[in-house]
């Protein structure tokens, strides 16, 4: 008994949509960032599901790369957000209005 591939793809689409909405509606830079990470993980799920669908490993290989890229983004992103917080004492993107958004 195998779960149909489409289930995983739909789940990944739902997760990706939740992440997108999170980026658009949340105000805290950290929460926005977490939403982006959710999107990346949704992509990973889709990649692994497609990999099973096609019976080759390209998707899984790409999932590895996307995990490493996500980690690199975490490091750079957290450093930037900490930097902003230290300078502005807020992580709210609406307060960062020196440059008009």
């Amino acid at each position: 008994m195998k779960t149909p591939i489409s289930y995983f793809v739909v789940l990944s689409a739902v997760l990706f949509a939740i992440g997108s909405v999170g980026v658009l509606v949340r105000k805290n830079a950290l929460v926005i960032f977490m939403s982006v990470e959710l999107q990346l993980n949704a992509v990973n799920l889709a990649l692994v599901a497609f990999s099973r669908l096609h019976g080759n490993l390209n998707g899984q290989v790409l999932a590895f790369f996307s995990m490493v890229v996500a980690a690199a983004e975490v490091v750079v992103g957290l450093a930037i957000i900490v930097n902003v917080y230290r300078r502005m004492h807020t992580a709210n993107v609406d307060d960062a209005s020196l440059l008009r958004w």
Partner: protein, 145 residues
């Protein structure tokens, strides 16, 4: 089929019921007389200490955590290599040696720039983080969240 999931569903239902029931019953039955000591968070018997103006952590924690993440996730590439280790042979070994050498470059850079020094004031030269995250006057940050 779905029936395979039945035991899991039963277990989940029971767990939720037990949690809700025990919290609800104890909330109904217990006397409610809060004191200052009772409301204090439990920290292994240590008096909870708060620094003024919110909680402050040395920025070093963040730097070390970030460095940990980056070196931790690099090892992800060792797993697929380990799976095909024998078949990949000398070629795989050489590739992995190159990869580890590159990770080692990053490590040497962090080490030399003072990213791993814990005690003395962070030097002007930054570690892997953007420059200003490590300026001397900024050894502490208020927790962002």
């Amino acid at each position: 089929m779905l029936s395979e999931y039945l035991p899991i569903a039963v277990l989940a239902t029971l767990a939720v019921l037990f949690g809700v029931a025990s919290l609800g019953v104890s909330a109904l039955l217990r006397p409610n007389r809060p004191t200052r000591a009772k409301l204090a968070p439990y920290e292994c018997g240590i008096e909870p200490a708060r620094l003024p103006a919110g909680e402050r952590f040395p920025v070093k924690f963040y730097v070390v955590a970030m460095l940990f993440i980056i070196f931790d996730i690099e090892t992800i590439f060792l797993f697929p290599w380990a799976v095909g280790f024998r078949q990949l042979g000398l070629f795989g070994l050489a590739e992995m040696a190159v990869f580890i050498a590159l990770v080692f470059v990053a490590y040497v850079y962090v080490w030399k720039s003072g990213g791993l020094d814990w005690r003395e004031p962070a030097p002007r030269r930054a570690a892997a983080a953007p420059p200003t995250a490590l300026e001397p006057e900024a050894r502490e940050v208020v927790r962002a969240g």
